[in-house]
């Protein structure tokens, strides 16, 4: 259901970004970039007292007329951003959460790979296939 999936590193540079329609990739890139501000805001306010478990799922970051942007942050400040098309039947919150969960798991697998240097772009085929599965579901 996702139109665009992005993984942003702690330093706010993209580790992985992929969109469905290749023609408007720039638009999605821009959207993801702007959503980072919202993510930062959310994690800064929520994570004041780090003793308390901060919610990883950030929820709807902001909606636009065409799509909605959801965010998710790991404990290592790696951010996942999913852009969903609004024209689709509004996805349930649980579905979005499950998508983020899958993303997180695949990302963990990538991280566990000793041949992967943190900070490198993610080139894992398994990760790609998982993201494709998530995006193929959409239009």
């Amino acid at each position: 259901m996702a139109v665009c999936v992005a993984v942003i590193a702690k330093e706010n540079y993209p580790l992985y970004i992929r969109s469905v329609p290749s023609q408007s990739e720039l638009k999605f890139h821009y959207t993801v970039h702007t959503s980072l501000d919202v993510v930062e805001e959310k994690i800064s306010t929520a994570g004041k007292a780090m003793a308390e478990q901060r919610e990883l799922y950030l929820g709807l970051l902001y909606p636009t007329e065409d799509y909605k942007v959801y965010g998710y942050v790991t404990n290592s400040k790696v951010k996942f951003v999913i852009v969903v098309d609004s024209s689709n039947t509004s996805l349930r919150d649980n579905e979005i959460r499950s998508m983020f969960r899958k993303l997180h798991n695949s990302f963990t697998d990538v991280m566990c790979n000793p041949f992967y240097n943190p900070g490198d772009p993610i080139q894992s085929r398994a990760f790609d296939s998982m993201v494709s599965a998530m995006m193929v579901q959409s239009s």
Partner: protein, 767 residues
């Protein structure tokens, strides 16, 4: 380029060759390396090959396109047939035999050459046939191994291990066999090649014995092209696997033979088996891997940490990306460490990749670590290769890690549970309670109605409607006005509704078969019902519920006392008493007069009956009192209507009491109670009836009066007496007249007020 016409056989053959050479699957360009090797396999001298290349135009283009390739093949055929190489001869030469290639050897040699870019490998091909020098020996061995399958030995043993042996022989050779199988399975025209190759086999068979000795040489050669860390690796496998060559090659032959001769389906299957086989780790290989594992981790049941594995596999000089992919495939449980099985799988994948195999997307089944609990078939080679490949992804997922499946299972469950919880929307059902309430009320009402069978239907519908309206206050906003009116009335003052209920009781009782007139008819049934019904329905029901039908009156009585009507209280207190006295007095008088009245005024018959009824009922006075009080209450509850009625009634009673108090003549009381009843009747009935009643009353009054004697004698006294009587009668009549007029006024006012109220309520009733 020169146009090229190919026969069908040629076309097919060339296309198959092109596919074979199309390593990169470009469908357009045949890799130079393969093409060159292929050409060399044509047993042509290098010069000829170069010439052909030049002629076909590949030199110009720099690559072998399909057309160039076809041309080259044709030229090879020409050259092999001994004809001079001429471009013109491409199309002119007829019945040209197909170019012959010693494919097996060529393939392996080509593979070998590709893997190890040694110029040495590009030695003259002719050396292949005789016992090759040491270097070539491994090739020969491999070729021999491959060619063996072409030997027409019929051993239909789908031994999957046969091709495996080739890898065992030396990892580099494994792809050769694989390629060969693939190639042979891909084209039907390949059959020709085995025939061609057959001729070459015998010599190779002879050379077969050579391989044993060649191993050492081969192994000696393996180090140079391989990294240091791999030296040890490559050393052991060849030496260990060669002995197994014979059976393996024989089996391979059977496998391939079956491929060549079998139908396409079988070919595909064999082809698939050929795919699957390379992934199988033989014991020798496995032993080697284990040894390697020990170098890193002495404990075979332990893990190799990711970092150590990374260092080890980095030595293979494979790209990091491919190593990363290999790791993804091999690390089954995604724990960042390699068990022995995982390590072996990873190692095997590295070897395969080194030899040119493309890394699979999913871990092949034969490489899957044997997980006892999850998958029994893991690691067991399956004859169905597709299943092996297709099954691997399926198995990989569950076998990925013991924790993963559980995690995966948890999420859908959570989703479902969340979805379920999200779906639930409590829908408040207001209908039922009110409906039930209504039903109850109806039942009670019916019960009450049964208790008062004579109750007219009028009160019933109003009651029902009232209850419904009350229920509608919750449900139906349409009828809220009336409901609100009634409900507010009922809820605001329970007393009044109760009183009205009691009055209704009265009315019910009053409207017994005797007629519409109540004993002490305070509120006329129709109007008070109109007002009381709405407000008192609930209370009526309450009364009915709380008290059985028989005790309704008592309940009414019980409910009655708390209600204290404000206005007519003073009068009420006096009125009832007076009324009682009047009634008491009037009863016999009325009874006496009633017979007189009865014939004259049929209306009074009712009164007499009422009187009798009232007398019969011991609680009449109390009822009357209650009724009067109820009237007051009703007046208060319903507002003007009741107030008017109560006013009318107390006024009536006051008049009655006045009349009774005056008590002048027995005539007065009788007519007064009669009048009261008349008045009550009037209230009950339309006003039109009043006049005739009053006239009747007057007539009765007049009739009661003894006729004035007109006797002259004894006239004076009689006359005086009569005059006196007349005067009294006159006064009485005058008084009566005034009273009646007053009553008329009151009734008119009441009528007006009722009409006003009716109109006020009409819009609400319409809703």
């Amino acid at each position: 380029m020169e146009s090229l016409t190919l026969s069908d056989v040629e076309q097919k053959y060339y296309s198959d060759l092109f596919i074979y050479c199309d390593v990169d699957n470009t469908k357009k360009v045949a890799s130079n390396g393969k093409v060159l090797d292929l050409f060399r396999a044509a047993q042509l001298s290098n010069d000829v090959v170069l010439q052909i290349t030049e002629l076909c135009g590949a030199t110009r283009l720099g690559h072998f396109g399909r057309s160039q390739f076809y041309i080259a093949l044709k030229l090879i055929a020409i050259a092999q047939s001994g004809l001079p190489l001429r471009v013109e001869s491409l199309n002119s030469v007829k019945d040209l035999p197909l170019p012959r290639f010693v494919m097996g050897k060529n393939e392996q040699e080509a593979r070998h050459a590709a893997m190890y870019p040694d110029t040495e490998n590009q030695g003259p091909y002719s050396s292949v046939i005789p016992r090759p020098p040491g270097r070539v020996q491994p090739k020969k061995v491999s070729t021999h191994e491959v060619i063996q399958p072409c030997v027409p030995t019929v051993d239909p043993q789908p031994d999957t291990t046969s091709p495996v042996v080739s890898p065992h022989q030396s990892p580099p050779t494994s792809p050769h066999t694989w390629r060969k199988h693939k190639r042979q399975a891909s084209g039907g025209a390949v059959e020709q090649q085995p025939a061609v190759a057959r001729a070459v086999w015998p010599p190779f068979r002879e050379a077969q014995s050579g391989p044993v000795t060649g191993d050492g040489l081969w192994s000696a050669h393996s180090p140079p092209p391989v990294q240091e860390s791999w030296v040890s690796f490559t050393d052991t496998p060849p030496s260990s696997t060669l002995p197994a060559m014979h059976p393996s090659s024989a089996q391979e032959s059977t496998t391939v033979r079956t491929v060549a001769s079998a139908a396409t389906t079988n070919e595909i299957q064999r082809q698939a088996s050929g795919y699957d086989d390379p992934w199988k780790i033989t014991e020798e290989q496995r032993q080697y891997y284990i040894n390697q594992f020990k170098t890193i981790q002495s404990d075979l049941t332990g893990f190799i940490p990711g970092s150590a594995a990374k260092e080890f596999f980095t030595k293979s000089k494979l790209p990091i990306l491919e190593l990363s992919h290999i790791w993804e495939l091999s690390d089954f449980d995604k724990d960042g460490a390699l068990t022995l099985d995982e390590f072996c799988a990873a190692f095997h994948l590295v070897v395969a990749r080194k030899n040119g195999y493309d890394l699979p997307e999913k871990l092949p089944e034969s490489l899957m670590p044997k997980l006892i609990d999850l998958d029994d078939s893991a690691g067991v080679p399956e004859p169905a290769p597709e299943v092996g490949f297709s099954g691997s992804p399926v198995e990989v997922t569950p076998n990925k890690s013991p924790s993963m499946p559980s995690l995966n299972q948890n999420w859908p469950e959570l989703n479902q549970s969340n979805e379920d919880t999200a779906i639930v929307h409590p829908v408040p059902i207001r209908m039922t309670p009110s409906k039930i309430h209504m039903q109850e009320m109806e039942l009670k009402r019916t019960g009450s109605d049964h208790a008062h069978p004579t109750s007219p239907l009028m009160p019933k519908p109003p009651e029902l409607s009232e209850e419904k309206k009350l229920a509608a206050t919750i449900k139906f906003p349409g009828t809220t006005v009336g409901d609100g009116y009634s409900s507010s009335d009922s809820f605001a003052s329970d007393q009044e509704p109760i009183s009205s209920a009691v009055t209704r009781q009265r009315s019910h009782s009053g409207t017994s078969p005797e007629g519409l007139k109540a004993v002490a008819p305070p509120p006329p049934p129709p109007r008070p019902h109109a007002s009381h019904s709405r407000s008192s329905s609930l209370d009526m029901n309450r009364n009915f519920t709380t008290v059985p039908a028989g005790a309704q009156q008592q309940a009414g009585v019980v409910a009655f006392p708390p209600a204290v009507p404000p206005r007519p209280l003073a009068t009420q207190t006096s009125v009832p008493h007076g009324h009682r006295s009047v009634d008491g007095d009037g009863l016999p008088a009325h009874a006496s007069t009633s017979p007189q009245q009865m014939p004259e005024q049929p209306n009074f018959a009712d009164f007499s009956q009422f009187q009798a009824f009232a007398v019969e009922q011991p609680a009449d006075d109390g009822e009357k009192q209650q009724e009067s009080v109820q009237v007051e209450k009703c007046a208060d509850a319903t507002g003007t209507m009741r107030a008017v009625k109560s006013e009318a009634q107390p006024e009536e009673r006051t008049t009655a009491t006045v009349n009774s108090a005056k008590g002048s003549t027995p005539l007065a009381p009788p007519p007064k109670p009669v009048r009261r009843r008349l008045k009550s009747e009037d209230e009950l009935r339309p006003d039109m009836e009043d006049h005739p009643q009053k006239s009747g009353v007057v007539a009765s009054v007049l009739a009661t009066q003894p006729s004035i004697p007109r006797s002259v004698g004894k006239d004076k006294k009689a006359i005086q007496a009569s005059i006196r009587r007349n005067k009294e009668t006159n006064t009485v009549l005058a008084r009566l007249n005034s009273e009646l007029q007053q009553q008329l006024k009151d009734l008119l006012e009441e009528r007006i007020s009722l009409e006003v109220q009716l109109e006020q309520l009409r819009p609400f009733s319409h809703l």
